[in-house]
Symmetry: C2
DNA sequence: ACGTACCGGATAACTTCTATCCGCTTACTT
DNA sequence: AAGTAAGCGGATAGAAGTTATCCGGTACGT
């Protein structure tokens, strides 16, 4: 039985738990979520059994680590909504949330693949979507972005930028910003003619399905 | 020893070879390149040993299948260069090459990950890059795209769109076209103000390195 | 009709990841 | 200071997936 909630741990045990979480954070950020609990244990300098004694499986570690991270993303969205300038708010949110994802390969993966992580993480993720919706709607009403943009589009754009980010991370960390900028120029309303979007946006439900089955076979 | 070149096969053997290639094409297109040679054999309705008798390993199958596919992409680029309108040429190339990639998950992967496939496939891929460079340069000289766009940018854009494509394939095949359109609006020159791109483009060499190590850990 | 080129698919040999067992050590209590 | 429960390490069993070969049998081709 893992020490999920319950009673307090012995001093050394508590310290090892912290070490494990720190090691997991590092490894997830560097290598992504598909590291092993055994990897984490070694990186933490503790035995494998210790890892399994504290966490039933990798999901539990992910859960412990990423709930707050996702909450941080949600807070970014909230702050962006407080920005009096709808365009600036939207841009700032995208820049900051992608910045967070850039530094953390694991966060990147968990943002883009809803069947990773546990219920609490999943809930945190679901709290973000409506905020993004509001950001987009507000910008549309203010007439600063193209009217045919849908809220679901942002999610796919993030996915695409994540892929780019992941590929160029080793070469030039900030490189993905070029494409964020190009994309933003593509949705800004200050031009004479838009090319009309050739297909309909996906519904929220379809989007969810798309993101769920994404990356199933890489 | 695999029957790479050499002498002619017996009738049934030759037929099985064709069956294997057809099965591989189907599976690669549907499921991507990480199917097993055993999978391919079963899908072709032949024994596993037959597959290994005809092809030393999966690479050889990929090689046999994708060289011509990549040549087809190269031909698209050539046709696009023949288009008298530089903008229309560029757009048409992107639309068509992404269309090809859409129908074929394996092609998608091989376009975006240069360490897949063998020398000949790699050569074919290297033939495409200069053509894209020409397309971009020509459009820039004609003043139809933003001047700060680099040829290497196209490759990353394709990568991003591929990721999007892959996620929404099951829900709405043509959905990625939204983002292609938005991106194209982002690089079109017919507007008053561009947001200047915040970072430099990658060199050809850096780009190659980025694409080579892409997808190493999912 | 005969030899040999070819076939099927069970299975050995790996690799990778998950999770547990068990003998030994350390922290806490009285 | 000693007893005891909590904790530790890491070898290793077990599950899953992939690669590649062996060998008894089949059927092509002359």
């Amino acid at each position: 039985m893992p020490a999920t909630g319950g009673r307090s741990l012995r001093k050394d045990a508590a310290q090892n738990r912290e070490r494990l979480l720190a090691a997991a954070a590092e490894l997830f950020a560097e290598r992504g979520l598909d590291v092993t609990l055994n990897d984490i244990a070694h990186h933490a300098g503790v035995g494998v059994a210790t890892a399994y004694r504290r966490f039933a499986n990798k999901e539990e570690v992910i859960d412990a680590l990423f709930e707050e991270r996702l909450q941080a993303v949600a807070n970014l969205a909230k702050e962006a909504l407080d920005d009096p300038d709808p365009w600036h708010g939207l841009v700032t949110f995208l820049e900051r949330s992608l910045d967070m994802q850039f530094g953390d390969r694991g966060l990147n993966q968990i943002m883009n693949n809803p069947h990773l992580g546990d219920a609490r993480v999943s809930d945190a993720r679901d709290r973000i979507a409506p905020l993004i919706e509001q950001l987009v709607e507000r910008a549309k009403r203010a007439g600063v972005i193209r009217p045919d943009l849908d809220q679901t589009d942002l999610i796919f754009i993030q996915l695409g930028l994540s892929a780019i980010m992941d590929s160029s991370r080793g070469q030039a960390p900030e490189h993905y910003r070029r494409y964020l900028t190009i994309f933003l120029d593509g949705i800004r309303a200050d031009r004479e003619t838009f090319t009309s979007l050739p297909v309909e946006a996906l519904s929220a439900h379809q989007t969810h399905r798309a993101m769920t089955r994404a990356r199933r076979a890489g």
